[in-house]
Every structure is written in structure tokens, then in C-alpha cells.
């Protein structure tokens, strides 16, 4: 039997193990180790008796096992302490050094004894033991140094090293085969261990070693050698779970797209049972990866229950954001937002999404408070910007401007923040800031460059007062001024009143008031109520107001419809047409539809000549349509009037023309 096992080791080393492994299990029984070469002669009992006298029973047993393996017919002496044996202290010392792994010391001691006593010959047993000991050290060092051919060569010359008791050597040999593209022989080495070694920990560790070196498919023949554990379950159950975890982790690291169903369901049922937080979270991330955010949320909720903390909250928040539930995400992360940069960033993403919801949610003061604190601490421009829009939506342009200002301070390159500041400053009539932003950003942002043209149009469509005396918000100066009460305080219409509860005239006045507050959407509803008036003038005013409100909302098509809802004076019709086409041109330009921008400008030109701002818009449209020559002409004309915004355009057009000519177009 031992001979067969030894043959097996040799077969593995020679790469012929498949046949041998097939026979081995039947023959091996309880045997754990292959036998080294049987030695001729009689064993050297020096070490055995020395350890016995030292009372070192562990070493005595190891030595008896070693000698029995070397000399199968040898029987240990009945009395190891008998006086019939006179030990040589020098040889005892050599064995002692050997026992300590001091092979260099043992070699030196042998040479010293030989020098002192030329007749001394060390026993074959001693020399062989030293050879094997040194070969083991060398094998480990070669393995550490990734010198795999050396590893295999040492193993082939020293099969005594390849035992279950020194399973590390077998692992290293298997690795050496695998690293030198001899995977089948590496597998044979692992199979050898799983077939012959009984220690459950060694068996488990063997498959783990294989896992770290081999692809999943190669592991199946090893898993097939599984034996039942003490609890009746397969001894490799933990390994199979590890494999499932690895399979899922490979998806998460992008190596493969999907894990096997068996792996996923194995881990799922285990996680449900054990509530192991790492597994619950792994499954959560996997669900998110597979675009199943609801499943992901469920896993992370289970993880939170089992292990409340940043790790679980992190995943839960991502799941909730995926589910478009930023409020819950913000809540989940609130306690951990400062734990790491990543969590801070995720928290602020959730907060920004929460603030940006449509309709804007009314947040509890404590929620708003922590968002503000975290935004301030992190100097996060995006969240500050959303706080700005949030304040702006709730009629606090002053606060909004402050947030936008902070956002631009924290991120001077952020166009949306600059745009927000522009809008809020405009609402505050802060012309200084508006001018600053426009001069700083016009070259980079079309919407900033073109901002104010709508405002300009508003002055154009202020029919009864002279435009110069009527700044932008006085849109509502009409032939029928709204009641003084509603005009006296900008706050008088700030609280919501259902338009249906108002009279037509009240609704009309309220509509103008809301226009003053930059709440055109609410104004639309009030003008709609006013349209129900039996008075022609009120209806006409209401149609006019509603059309203006739609224009303000950026909905020129609706404005056209609204304008037709009641008879309007030709003057108002002209004004509305101008406003509608202006808005259409701006809207088209903003989405990059330059052809339609030009078309709207042409329509508008039927009602009024273009001023510098719209001429610039026209020139930029030509520019984007690569009609550089026309762009250049308009820019040049506008720039000649001292209109600053055109200068950058002129530069751009001239550069484009030069490049064109250089390229020979």
C-alpha cells in the first residue's frame, strides 16, 4: 500500500497521475503519508534515545514514526532508557541541531567530529535526514522566490517531503505546476492530498489554495472529492459559499456580467439564514449591479437590521437613489455622512436630488439644517446650487443668491451655479452682479450670454409706459392696473389661494402679482380664472397676461394659443408675437437647434427690428451653422456699436474663417 502511494507521488511528478489517482482511494484507507525510500542497514537510534532521556515524548513519537517509515521492519527498543546503549554526546548534539532545524550547524558539527576523529562516519540515516531537511528549506525558498522549476525538481528528487504532515510542500509543488502552465499536474497534486490526507482543516485549506490559483471550472474535480463532515453536511460547504461569493464579486469587479444562478441562490439562502452582514451587502450590491434596485434595497435593509452602520447605510442609500427616493436615501445616510469622503459625496448627491425634486418638497427644518451643515462642511458646489434653486423656488431670491454665490466660490468653473446666481441676481435687480456674470461667462455659456433678452423683450412689451422708465418686473403695467392692494406688497399673493375661489377681477390682479413674484405657472392658473370674466376687457387682459406667463415659462406655443383666447389690440398682438418669437428663438438656440432659432428670429423681424442682443444671437446661430462669413458681418456691426458681448463672437468667427482658409476650404 505504501509502495503504491509512493508510486503515486512519483507519478504526479512525472505527470502520469490520472491513472494512479483512480486506484489510490481504494488502496489508501486511513493512510495519510507516502513512504520515503526504505533505507538499507540499521537505524540510528541516537536521536530517539536522546529525546527519551530528555523526556520529550512528542519528539520520541515523531522519531519513532520517522524511523519506522525509513526501516519498515524496525521495532523501537522496549526500554528507551535502558543502559545497554552508550550514546556519543557529539552525535546526540548533531541530532539535537537537526531537531532544531539548524542544518548548517549539524553539517558543521559532523565535519568537526570528522576532523577530530578521521574514523568517524556519520550514519546514512543522519545524512539522509539532513538532505531531506535542507531540501525542504530550499523548496520553500525557491517557492517564495517564484523559482518553480527548482520547486518541482527538488520535489522529484525528495519525495519524502511530500507528506500530509508537511502538506505545505505539496501545496507549493501544486502551485509550481500551475504557475508553469502544468495545471493538470497541479490538480493531480491537490487530488492526491484530498484522496490521502484526512485532516479536515488541511482538506479545506487545500481547496482554498486551489481556489486562489485556478479558475472555477478546474475546481469541480476537487470538490467531487468532498467527504461528509461531522454534522453530515459536505465538508466543503464553506468553500462552495466562498465560490459563490467569488462568482458574485467577479461580477461586481466587472470581470463577468452575471453570476451563475446556483451560486446566487446558494448565497441567498445562506445569507437569509445566517444574516451575515457581509453576505447580505454583497447580495445587495449584486442586485444593484443587475439593475434590481428594489431587491437591492431589501438586502440592504436586512443588512441594516443585522449590522446597522455606514457599510449597510451606504448600499441602502444607493439603492434608494436608484429607486428615485432621495428623501429616504438622505435619511439613511444622515448619521454617516461624515464617515468618509465617499459617504459625504453620496450624502450630498442624495441631498441635491432631494432638493431638486419636482415639485419641490417642503423639507423639515432638521433635514434642511443637516443638508446645509454638510454642504457647508464639504464646500460642495452642487448641493449649494440646489439649495439655491430650492430657496429660489420658495421665493427667497436673496437666500438663493447667497447659495449660488457660495457655489461659484467653491467651484468657479461651474456654469450651472453661475447661471443660478445670474437668475437670482436678476430677480433681485442686482444689475451689477448680472453684468459681472455675463461678462465672465458669455463666451462659455450661451444661456448666460443670451440671458436678459427675455427681460429686454418684456420691456418691449410694456406697452403703456416708456421702456426706459419701466424696468423688467413692471410687466403688469396695463390699461387696467391690478388693484393697488395686490401691487403694494410683493408678498400679498405669496400664499396659495385656489384661483376658483376668486372673482375674475381678483384672479386677474393676482395673476399680475404672481408675475411680479416670478411665479408664472401660478399666474397662468389665475389668468385662466380671469378669462372666465364676462367683461371683455378683463378677458383680453387675462389672455394677454396668460400669454406673457407662458412666454415666461418658456412655452411660446402655449402663448400663441393663449393669445388667441380673447380679442387683443393690434399693439398687444404685435408685442406678444415679438415676445413669442423671441422666446422661441432662445429656446431653439438653447437646445442647439440653430436653424429654428434663425427661423424664429426671421418671424420676429416681421414685427420689430433686432437689437444688439438678438443680433448677437443671430450671429452665434450663423456661427454654429458654420456660416462664418455672415456671423462675422453681424458680430462686426454689433461690436462697432460698443456692445461687448459681440467682441468674443467676432474673434471666434474670424478665427474660424482663418482656419477654414488655412485648410483650403
Amino acid at each position: 500500500m505504501k509502495a503504491l502511494l509512493r508510486l503515486l507521488v512519483v507519478a504526479i511528478l512525472l505527470g502520469q497521475a490520472s491513472a494512479a489517482t483512480a486506484q489510490a482511494p481504494a488502496a489508501s484507507g486511513e493512510t495519510a503519508a507516502p513512504a520515503p525510500t526504505a533505507q538499507p542497514g540499521t537505524p540510528d537510534e541516537t536521536a530517539l534515545r536522546y529525546f527519551a532521556r530528555q523526556g520529550d515524548t512528542k519528539r520520541v513519537e515523531a522519531e519513532i514514526a520517522r524511523l519506522k517509515a525509513l526501516y519498515p521492519n524496525w521495532q523501537p527498543p522496549a526500554n528507551l532508557l535502558a543502559n545497554d546503549y552508550t550514546p556519543d554526546p557529539a552525535i546526540e548534539h548533531i541530532w539535537e541541531l537537526y531537531g532544531q532545524g539548524d542544518f548548517a550547524g549539524a553539517r558543521a558539527a559532523i565535519a568537526a567530529k570528522q576532523s577530530a576523529d578521521p574514523a568517524f562516519t556519520p550514519s546514512e540515516d543522519l545524512l539522509h535526514s539532513l538532505d531531506v531537511g535542507e531540501a525542504g528549506v530550499r523548496l520553500r525558498n525557491a517557492s517564495d522566490a517564484a523559482q518553480y522549476e527548482t520547486v518541482v525538481s527538488i520535489a522529484a528528487q525528495t519525495p519524502e517531503l511530500l507528506t500530509c504532515a508537511s502538506v505545505d510542500n505539496l501545496w507549493r509543488v501544486a502551485e509550481a505546476f500551475i504557475k508553469t502552465d502544468k495545471t493538470p499536474r497541479g490538480l493531480d497534486a491537490y487530488k492526491y492530498i484530498l484522496t490521502n490526507c484526512t485532516d479536515p482543516q488541511i482538506r479545506l485549506a487545500t481547496v482554498q489554495k486551489a481556489m486562489s490559483l485556478l479558475p472555477r471550472a478546474d475546481l469541480d474535480p476537487l470538490l467531487a472529492l468532498e467527504r461528509p463532515g461531522p454534522d453530515g453536511a459536505g465538508e466543503f460547504t464553506p468553500i462552495r459559499l466562498d465560490l459563490a461569493r467569488n462568482a458574485i464579486a467577479e461580477v461586481l469587479t466587472g470581470k463577468v456580467g452575471k453570476a451563475g444562478d446556483a451560486d446566487v441562490s446558494l448565497l441567498e439562502s445562506s445569507a437569509r439564514q445566517t444574516k451575515a452582514p457581509d453576505d447580505l451587502r454583497l447580495l445587495g450590491w449584486y442586485a444593484l449591479n443587475q439593475k434590481k434596485p428594489a431587491d437591492g434595497r431589501d438586502w440592504f435593509e436586512m443588512a441594516t437590521a443585522a449590522d446597522p452602520g455606514a457599510l449597510s447605510a451606504h448600499g441602502l442609500a444607493v439603492a434608494l437613489l436608484d429607486l428615485d427616493r432621495p428623501g429616504e436615501a438622505e435619511q439613511a445616510l444622515a448619521a454617516y455622512s461624515g464617515d468618509s469622503e465617499e459617504l459625504t459625496s453620496l450624502y450630498l448627491t442624495a441631498a441635491a436630488a432631494l432638493l431638486a425634486q419636482d415639485p419641490r418638497p417642503e423639507l423639515k427644518p432638521e433635514v434642511l439644517d443637516r443638508i446645509v451643515q454638510e454642504t457647508m462642511a464639504a464646500h460642495n458646489a452642487k448641493a449649494a446650487q440646489e439649495l439655491g434653486w430650492y430657496a429660489y423656488a420658495f421665493e427667497q431670491p436673496q437666500t438663493a443668491a447667497q447659495w449660488f454665490k457660495l457655489a461659484t466660490t467653491w467651484d468657479p468653473q461651474d456654469e450651472p451655479s453661475a447661471y443660478g446666481l445670474l437668475v437670482a441676481s436678476d430677480a433681485l435687480k442686482d444689475t451689477q452682479t448680472v453684468r459681472e456674470i455675463k461678462s465672465q461667462w458669455s463666451a462659455k455659456s450661451a444661456r448666460i450670454a443670451n440671458f436678459g433678452q427675455a427681460t429686454g423683450k418684456r420691456s418691449e412689451i410694456t406697452p403703456t409706459a416708456s421702456p426706459a422708465e419701466a424696468p423688467a418686473p413692471k410687466v403688469a403695467v396695463t390699461s387696467t392696473p391690478p388693484p393697488a392692494s395686490s401691487r403694494s406688497s410683493s408678498r400679498s399673493c405669496a400664499t396659495f389661494v385656489p384661483p376658483g375661489s376668486l372673482s375674475a377681477s381678483q384672479a386677474l390682479a393676482r395673476g399680475w402679482c404672481l408675475m411680479d413674484l416670478e411665479r408664472p405657472a401660478d399666474a397662468v392658473a389665475n389668468f385662466a380664472r380671469a378669462l372666465e370674466s364676462s367683461t371683455g376687457q378683463v378677458r383680453s387682459d387675462a389672455a394677454y397676461g396668460q400669454a406673457l406667463a407662458y412666454i415666461r415659462l418658456g412655452l411660446p406655443d402655449y402663448a400663441m394659443v393663449a393669445a388667441a383666447a380673447a380679442p387683443l389690440t393690434q399693439k398687444r398682438i404685435n408685442e406678444l408675437q415679438i415676445a413669442i418669437h423671441t422666446k422661441a428663438a432662445l429656446a431653439a438656440y438653447e437646445i442647439g437647434d440653430y436653424k429654428n432659432a434663425l427661423r424664429a428670429l426671421d418671424e420676429r423681424a416681421r414685427y420689430a427690428p433686432e437689437q444688439n442682443d438678438l443680433l448677437t444671437l443671430r450671429a452665434w446661430s450663423y456661427y454654429h451653422l458654420r456660416r462664418y462669413r455672415e456671423a462675422q458681418q453681424i458680430f462686426a456691426a454689433v461690436a462697432a456699436t460698443g456692445y461687448q458681448d459681440a467682441a468674443a463672437g467676432l474673434d471666434a468667427a474670424q478665427t474660424a474663417l482663418r482656419i477654414q482658409s488655412e485648410r483650403g476650404f
Binding site: A104, A108, N141
Partner: protein, 353 residues
């Protein structure tokens, strides 16, 4: 002119087919010197410790330790050093030794590249031990290393067959100014021994070619070869990335030349490295001395060279062994071994005049 008889090559007669003459009755390194050396530089587990280099160990040090143990006729220490060398360094797939070993690192081998001078010294010492102590196993081990050197480390440059300093990083394909050689890695005294072990490899011709390149490499402002020599063009030049100097490496060259029995015309150029108070580390691009190496182990090389060339005896203070650094101490013992073996009159006051 003194000692013409010696310069005529009498020393060559001392070199047998196995290198040095068969072990003399008395070791050429005394028991006391060797004991002192061991106490300072050889650990119990057979590790030669370079105390000038963060106490690391290397294949060169192991080779020197083995060689000195043979010369001191100390078999037990040889066995210990050989056990360490074999199990800790000789792990490379090609049979050569990993060159660097550090006690506080895991794994201890921190560079698996080889250094050919270490391999040559180990093989040379093993061959001498095999012969001196009649141990065919050691001769076999030496032969395997020499075969590997012949298989792995030789390069032919413009018709000259040379040993590269290491397997990795010195050839023409591995660096723009390659091949790069280190002439102090050429241990000429080993050539006849290697030729005896592996007659199929032309070690005698290799030694001759190396001597030729060595002479060419010294054609510069200093008249001394740089430690690291680029052979990419016809005219040898200092290799990129190394200081362009004749330094700690190459001060060994005259010692190796003397030990191999080279004649005066080969030795004479190296008198330039001998200063008043020690050996000179020299910038080969300017010929200027950058440092004076004053440890006795360095100075004795200059004194021995001077004696061989002019008959000026080696001062008595340099003949006394009191180790400083590992490197200097090693060179001092090798020089004393040479002087006692081949030029004893250098150690005898001024009687030679």
C-alpha cells in the same frame, strides 16, 4: 630592477590544474586570523554578513566565505556556509545563486537575479574543497554551477567571449548601452579550475578575451577601467546609471590579476590606484581622485602590487589582520594568502633587495 625571476612568471608554476597548489601543510590563512574573521562576519547558520551594507548577505560574500574557509582549511565552517548558500540562495531555476538576502525581509531573498562573481566564487571554492577534502559531491556541485555559467552568462562582443555580471539586465537587448560588464567580476584564477571541470567550455580563451577587454576599458583619462563598462560601441565607456569611476569594485582587479599569476605588463597600470595613504577611487572621465580608501584591507592590495612591481616590501602594519569592514577584511585575507603563497619575500622586510 628587482625580482625579474618572479615577474618572468614563476608564479604561474604555482597554479595547478585546480588553481592553487594542493593544500599546503599549513593553511595560508592562520587559525587566529580566520577565527577573528568568523567572529566578525560569519553567523552560526553559515551566513556571511556584509556589515558595511546593512548587514545583508549576498552570493559574493558566501563565495568569499567558502573560499577563505578552504584557504583556512576549516571544513566545519565551510559546511555551514555551504549549507546556508545552497538552501537560501541556490534556488534559481538555472542553478545559479540569487544574489541578495536580507534577514529582516520575508522572503529573505529580495532579488532573485544572480551576480556572476558570486557564482564564480562559490563554484571555485567548491571545486577546491572537493579536491582538498576528497569530496566528489562538492566537485559535482561546482561542475553544475560552472555549466550553468557557461550556458547562461556568456556573451560574445566583437569576437570576445565574456561573462556578464548578471542574468537579468545587462545584455544588449536589455539596455540601450548593453552589453554592460563589470571587469571585477572576472576572477581569472578560477579559469583553469573551470576548464578542468567543464572542458567543453573555453574558459582559457574567455579569460584571455576578458583580459583584452579589461585593457581596452582602461584607455581613458584615468588609465583605469570604470567599475561598470558599456561595450555597445567599439570603444568601451562608463555604463549609464553608474558613477563613471574606478571604485570599490575594481580595486579587486589587481588582486585577482596577481592571484592568477598575471605578468607585470598587466599589473603595471593599476599602480595608478595606489596613493600615499591608501587606494584611490578615481573619476575615469577626469582622472581625479574622489576618495582615499584607507582601511588596511584596501591598502595592502596597493602594497602587494607595489612589491610585486618594485620589490618594496609590504609594511608590517598591513600584514597584521585587524578587521574593519567585511569587504576590506576579505580582501586583506585574500592578499595575505596570495603573498604567503606566491610572494613570501614581500613579507620579509627588505631582504629581497
Amino acid at each position: 630592477m628587482r625580482w625579474l625571476w618572479w615577474l618572468a612568471g614563476a608564479a604561474m608554476a604555482c597554479v595547478t590544474a585546480t588553481g592553487l597548489a594542493a593544500s599546503p601543510a599549513e593553511p595560508t590563512i592562520t587559525a587566529q586570523e580566520w577565527q577573528t574573521y568568523r567572529d566578525h562576519f560569519v553567523s552560526a547558520e553559515g551566513r556571511v554578513v556584509d556589515n558595511g551594507n546593512n548587514n545583508l548577505s549576498h552570493s559574493e560574500g558566501q563565495g568569499y566565505g567558502l573560499l577563505l574557509a578552504v584557504l583556512a582549511q576549516d571544513r566545519p565552517t565551510f559546511e555551514a556556509i555551504w549549507s546556508f548558500t545552497r538552501t537560501e540562495l541556490m534556488v534559481r531555476d538555472d542553478g545559479l545563486a540569487a544574489w541578495r538576502w536580507e534577514e529582516d525581509k520575508s522572503p529573505h531573498v529580495t532579488d532573485t537575479n544572480n551576480a556572476s562573481d558570486g557564482d564564480i566564487l562559490i563554484a571555485y571554492a567548491l571545486a577546491m574543497a572537493g579536491e582538498a577534502w576528497n569530496e566528489p559531491e562538492k566537485t559535482d556541485a561546482a561542475r553544475r554551477i560552472v555549466e550553468s555559467l557557461g550556458r547562461e552568462m556568456l556573451v560574445e562582443v566583437r569576437g570576445n567571449m565574456l561573462v556578464l555580471p548578471g542574468k537579468d539586465g545587462f545584455s544588449a537587448t536589455q539596455r540601450p548601452d548593453g552589453p554592460v560588464v563589470n571587469p571585477s567580476y572576472w576572477i581569472f584564477e578560477a579559469a583553469p579550475v573551470f576548464a578542468g571541470l567543464t572542458p567543453q567550455i573555453a574558459w582559457a580563451r574567455i579569460a584571455e578575451d576578458e583580459m583584452k577587454v579589461l585593457a581596452l576599458a582602461g584607455e581613458n583619462a584615468a588609465g583605469l577601467p570604470p567599475d561598470w563598462v558599456s561595450l555597445s560601441s567599439r570603444k568601451p565607456k562608463p555604463a549609464e546609471g553608474f558613477p563613471p569611476e574606478f571604485g570599490y569594485n575594481n580595486i579587486r582587479i589587481p588582486l585577482y590579476l596577481m592571484r592568477s599569476g598575471a605578468g607585470a605588463e598587466r599589473l603595471a597600470p593599476y599602480i595608478r590606484m595606489v596613493g600615499e595613504d591608501g587606494l584611490l577611487r578615481v573619476d575615469v572621465t577626469t582622472g581625479e581622485a574622489k576618495e582615499h580608501l584607507t582601511e588596511p584591507g584596501y591598502r595592502i592590495i596597493g602594497a602587494a602590487l607595489n612589491c610585486v612591481l618594485t620589490g618594496e616590501p609590504v609594511p608590517a602594519d598591513l600584514q597584521a589582520f585587524s578587521p574593519t569592514s567585511y569587504f576590506a577584511a576579505t580582501l586583506q585575507l585574500l592578499t595575505l594568502d596570495f603573498l604567503r603563497r606566491d610572494a613570501p619575500m614581500c613579507l620579509e622586510g627588505r631582504t629581497a633587495r
